[in-house]
Amino acid sequence: MPSALTAADWMLAAPLLWLTGAGVLILLIDALRPARLAEAVVALLGLTGAGWFVLPLLRESVSGFAAGGGAVPMLVSTPGLAALALLCLGSAFVAGALGLRRLVEYEGGRHGTAFWTLLLFCPAGMLLTLWSNHMATLFLGIETLSLPLYVLAALQRNDEHSVEAGLKYFLLGAFASGFLGFGMALVYAATGRMDAAAGQEAALGPMAAVGLGMLLIGLLFKAAIAPFHLWAADVYQGAPTPVTALMAAGTKAAAVAALFRWSPGIELLPPTAWAMLGTLTLVVGNLSALNQANLKRMLALSGVAHAGILLYALAANAAGLRTGGSGGEYADGPFQSLSFYLLAYGFASLAAFGALELLERHSGGRSDDDALRGMARRHPLPGAVLCVALLSLAGFPFTAGFLAKYFVFVELIRVGMTGWALAGILLTLLAFGYYLKALVNLFMREPGPQRPAMVPADAFAAAVLLVPAILSVVFGVWPAPLRL
């Protein structure tokens, strides 16, 4: 007879159960009495309810599901992770609000049920990934978050780019999952452990090292970090824009946070290795984003570059661990900077892709520079949101993006890696180049001929869109509440 669930277990399980329960309910509604509006309401309520269950986790760290009677908890939540969990749920909400008029009504609403159910299952996977402290939960989380995304990316099935995105993401993602699973098996075989700390052991044999390497590759793929980023541009560009918003904000947060918590041992990857990987990602992401003539693709590649900066936080963490800086007053500084960055990047990319979605409805679904020329002038609200988002992504002051970069570089300089910080800061200059170019195109050029709108812009999507844009500014001025 297994021991009953404790209160902590229930706290962690509640949002997951709520999400999956709502998903099953939608399937049932569709089977018994199809009603499109009811499905949407259930889905959005499901996401809101899950968010409500996450709220108490913001105040305290909770660990639950201790495997084998209290040895290692399988799920661990900290306030920072709970904030990221809220971001994931929020991005699913925004994706739902944005997809309401285009994706749900696509092909006469035939895929509405699939859209809503997957939109509920996907954040459940993200939450599992964020909180995972055990290989079983990590694998389950990654798979639960990926499988819905494969389908969501290909949802617009008469658009070849969307189908290509889904297929590409699926094939490469399955390959990465293979790496992840095999890596876990090797680590388990070598150490007999399946918890997150297995990789932190100082002395690791070759088998564990290979296993950790493969586990790392699997996570690096999900986080789209060079050289495992090649899928990102095509998938982000091809997927329907609301889904891209979900991937950019939610998946990135879940994958990078998991990478941070599972970042393997001190011996295997010294701080410099992380910094080198970060710089490589930054260079590759920025250089390839610089010459894009498509805003969506540019944003996708800039997301790669942002992951590069996030790796600097991992470098600072590794350096802190190496010098035995744990237990100091600011020992969780690297994680704080990482979670702030993920939140800032999440808000900004939700706002950016969301505004892009609204603009695309007026540009015939196109997101290339030619179609978007001067569009911000014709549609001031999405234009303003996009402006705030791009400035935040670039890292201008009074946006959360600026403080996010600032915090990460502070951590890096604090552990004495000033040279890397200098390199990273100068590389972000390239990013300014392409964000400014996008602003030029949207604001300063004359708009092209007006096209009839595919779908009228809806007030709900616009209202939801304002939230991340406003948060980007609010937390840029008042970051204290997010320093979790």
Partner: protein, 119 residues
């Protein structure tokens, strides 16, 4: 610890050697007498007709996927059945929940017409 796997390794080597050896032996001993009839597709002794690369109906794939889904999920039931007595009432409830979720999925597929061949 790796030593425990030594028999496995030996078995692996033996299998490889056996299969490889047989293949090599047939190639060496056997005589090749090619004839046009031998190159033809075997179709129950009948004259082959049509193209081997014919397209299957997409329904095959759908049914195959559904079969795999429900088949794999049946595996969980086997595990539960082995320990049904020890798991007791709570185990029964958990499996009931599992089956209920499964049933919703099945209901959905059914009502959506996933099981109809002619659509």
């Amino acid at each position: 610890m790796l030593a425990e796997y030594a028999p496995l390794l030996a078995w692996l080597v033996l299998v490889m050697a056996f299969v490889g050896g047989l293949l090599a032996l047939t190639a060496w001993i056997g005589r090749a007498r090619p004839a046009p009839g031998k190159a033809e597709t075997y179709e129950c002794g009948m004259q082959p007709m049509g193209d081997a690369r014919g397209r299957f109906s997409v329904h095959y794939y759908l049914v195959a996927v559904l079969f795999i889904l429900f088949d794999v999920e049946a595996l969980f039931l086997v595990l539960w059945a082995l320990r049904a007595r020890e798991l007791g009432m709570s185990g029964l409830i958990e499996v009931g929940l599992f089956l209920a979720v499964l049933a919703v999925g099945w209901l959905h597929i059914w009502r959506r017409g996933g099981l109809e061949w002619d659509r």
